[in-house]
Symmetry: C2
Subunit: 248 residues, 2 copies
């Protein structure tokens, strides 16, 4: 779903789009020591869904994914990566989209292109929670962050898509140093450790974690952060951006 939905709806043959192929994007953010994903809710529906969209017939697939991402977060230059194609026949279920269209007062023909079988390419994005501005469009009620351990009921197989995205993020975390894309510009070592612990779902050893991160040589120490706590103030760090993967 994207801003062009009205055109897509009345365009019953899907003219201008690649047929049967969709994009779903798992947009991860990190806030309050919790991993979050950006979800939409549809008007007149209790269904939540991942931001997604379709591919113009003269557009690169990766470019389409970036377009979807930017339309939802108003961010560019974001870490974005394909992770899996969801193509089981059992995904095929025209009911939810039919419901959405009917709720909008539109009665789609039987062979409307949006009611056919779709294969979906899964992407995940890592964004700075504080910079993303969740933007709903005309067919969605809301576009908001939801904590991963408290997700609402999701449309179709979107729950499995999120699970697979998280699994991919987890296994790429150490190898690719992509975690920094989820941090704010400045952060403490505690913040960073908390992010790693949340993604990997396990406690890490503080001393070893700090030693390793500093040893990577991609952190620059800025200043101290007075939190107001009755204890030594932590340093703030920023990461040296040209040493960390952002765009592919």
């Amino acid at each position: 779903m994207n801003k062009e939905f009205e055109q897509q709806e009345s365009n019953i043959n899907g003219e201008g789009f690649l047929p049967g192929l969709a994009i779903d994007t798992v947009i991860f953010g990190f806030h309050d020591n919790q991993l979050k994903v950006l979800l939409l809710s549809y008007k007149n529906s209790s269904l939540y869904a991942l931001p997604g969209g379709f591919i113009h017939d003269n557009e690169d697939v990766n470019q389409a994914a970036r377009r979807v991402l930017e339309s939802r977060t108003a961010l560019s230059d974001i870490y974005l990566e394909q992770f899996y194609v969801f193509g089981d026949y059992s995904r095929y279920d025209p009911a939810p989209l039919k419901t959405i269209m009917k709720a909008r007062g539109y009665e789609p023909p039987h062979d409307h292109w949006l009611l056919k079988r779709f294969v979906s390419i899964g992407y995940y994005a890592l964004v700075d929670f504080t910079k993303a501005v969740p933007a709903p469009d005309e067919i969605s009620d809301s576009c908001d962050w939801y904590s991963l351990d408290n997700l609402p009921l999701l449309m179709q197989d979107h729950r499995q898509i999120i699970d697979k995205a998280l699994e991919t993020l987890r296994s790429n975390l150490d190898q690719k140093l992509i975690g920094f894309n989820l941090m704010t510009d400045e952060f403490t070592m505690g913040d960073l450790q908390s992010l790693y612990e949340t993604i990997l779902n396990k406690k890490l050893i503080r001393a070893a974690f700090q030693r390793k991160m500093l040893g990577l040589g991609i952190l620059e120490r800025i200043a101290k952060k007075w939190t107001g706590g009755a204890h030594k103030a932590p340093y703030l760090y920023k990461f040296i951006s040209n040493k960390v993967p952002t765009e592919n």
Copy 2:
């Protein structure tokens, strides 16, 4: 391309198939200390290509990939995994397929489904070279193994697809212990090390490699292998299959 090509050719609207979506499979084997891939050559054409195919409109995408793989190697229960979707607009080039069809004496209509833009889902498979039986079909001259460091000229972006597959294999090798799928049933430690060295494209330290492999606890020592060489005979090993990932 698969055995049903004649039907696909005369079926100008692609009835029964998902439109615009294809599968390309990089089938890896290992022989003579070299990585090999299975390639087809088309009749009346100098073009080589990856084994590929299309998805039935009532078939899982992963199942379709397995069907393609089995039709080319006569093997089942093979390690097979999605690795990337190739969806750039610049891939779109109807010329090669047009040439192939014309060479078969078939003049396709302008809007033949096979001449439209395709997005291709890349899979890679790891097979035991000694067990796979390369099988061409009626539109291919040949179906044979080619050494990775001596590939013929390939159709479209198939060369990039192979490169990306190798990159994925390389980065998954240690983590997932999938290398064993490329070995014969019984092998020496030297064979295994040679495989790793070839995939990773670097020399490994013999003592450390052996220690690590034995430490994994997935190898069973069988017997000695008398090679005829004037030296100590190496042991043969087989891997304890229920400890190694094969199918997903």
